[in-house]
Symmetry: C2
Amino acid sequence: MIKTITMAHGSGRGLSDLLETVVLPNLLAEQGSVLEDAAVFQTLEGRLAFTTDSFVVQPLEFSGGDIGKLAACGTINDLAVMGAVPSHMSVSLILEEGLEVALLERVLNSLRDVCISCGVNICCGDTKVIDRGSGDGLYMNTSGVGRVAEGLALSAANARPGDAVIVSGDIARHGVAILSQRQNLGFESQVESDCAPLDELCAALLKAVPDTRVMRDATRGGCAAVLNEIAAASGVSIKLDGSAIPVTEAVKQACAFLGMDPLQVANEGTFFAVVPRASVAEARAAIGGGSAVIGTVGEASRFPVTISTEIGGTRPVENPPGELLPRIC
Amino acid sequence: MIKTITMAHGSGRGLSDLLETVVLPNLLAEQGSVLEDAAVFQTLEGRLAFTTDSFVVQPLEFSGGDIGKLAACGTINDLAVMGAVPSHMSVSLILEEGLEVALLERVLNSLRDVCISCGVNICCGDTKVIDRGSGDGLYMNTSGVGRVAEGLALSAANARPGDAVIVSGDIARHGVAILSQRQNLGFESQVESDCAPLDELCAALLKAVPDTRVMRDATRGGCAAVLNEIAAASGVSIKLDGSAIPVTEAVKQACAFLGMDPLQVANEGTFFAVVPRASVAEARAAIGGGSAVIGTVGEASRFPVTISTEIGGTRPVENPPGELLPRIC
């Protein structure tokens, strides 16, 4: 039984042993297929979505998830917000010498369980071993493909003045959970990461509102980064109603303590949708209870994203400079 | 102008700057498209191949290539040996704080140039930054998809007794080049990595011999690992003719000096094909001058892969144990 990763697991028989006794049994729903250089599967005619994400989060396990769950959800969500039905995923591991195999098994199980629940087939992979001191235990890449139904035209460039901006749930939980755990602040007992697959919610929204303009999950840089990207790509402005943005009390307290703006903190299971104003009721019914209409798209202006403040003013919402929250995904 | 990677490049405006001024201009053949969460493109009806590879090679630049060229060729070759025409690639970067941007630009250019030469569209990507001491400058993942023509049935499980084993060129150059450079042995002046895309050669072989049984590029673990995998998956044995295997004098000398078996040393632009014995002439004509018929497939036996020795005997060729050549890809 392999207990820790050694350099011998990087190729040859050592790698075969690691794959056969650890990686494949904990990653795949079914065992026993021949390992080829690439997976080959039948696709249907039409459009394919393709995405990739590497994960370097620290710690590897956190309140509400771990790097495996994050890697599965991250790639599933990037496909889902582009209107795709995620179908196949690759999993590539960079393991540091000395990594505890029990931990590796736990995160592979997490990854597998999300894929099973979403009907995603883990069809190809890769495993590399790096020497002690050249990593932080484990880095992971997932790439994925999925089919996009005809007729959808989702793009960050498609927001139009007059459209409504909807958020699927309360914001900033992932970043707060990670940061709290990393710095032993204690908030993680109250704040769990929102890390979750969004494929069902996105599909439900597209069924209810096929002319949805944009969907985006609000990961690195949080709402601020994503809304600024949408405003820039669409050539519009976005005006947020500060009082409408759902944030839990615990997240508010943590952000106040940490000196962070919840709008700039990462989410891993929360997305924005820009929909025609006339479809707001259908959209909210499809996304469900936690969702909220938080803003309106306007003509391009000097400040691409602004928010109304509690004392009746407005302030610009800027893309965070970038160094506040390293390695949260 | 960004000269070195800092943690600020990991998200927000720092990440946008890095992408816009460094990554995208050096990676993409055409600039200016909107960055979505996933690429969406039209596919043709039929079968799709999907593969992934992470690259942790040290040094990042070596005689005959660099991590960018390696990452492009690795994924293109994994698709090509499965009979696919590589069409789309993802590129995911894990950058260590302190990485010299000039180096990053060089390896991205290498990656791009291979993709342009092979008609592969780099369509999606991801960039993460890790703190100093958590990496070795740069890790890279490429995943890729390509279409597989109807009628092909390539698999490591398809070798049949009586088939011939062909190698596309001389072996063991990649591993020798890397190891020599890493340890300052001086062989790298004579031995360049074979790192190269195999898409054209594989397509030519399949056109000439559509019932080719197996193609495999002989990467980690070299010929020994790949031939043992084919023998195991197909339930056959493989008998190699030691005198027929092409190895350059410089590689022989280096392997003798290093105490390594060239059969266990990695290649990055060399592949094996198992073809029906009757198609050997067509196969060799398609693959070209450097190719050689090096063995025959037999019934399963106690030693899956054996080689005839210079003094008239045979010895088993074993999958290397694994720790000889860490981080060669």
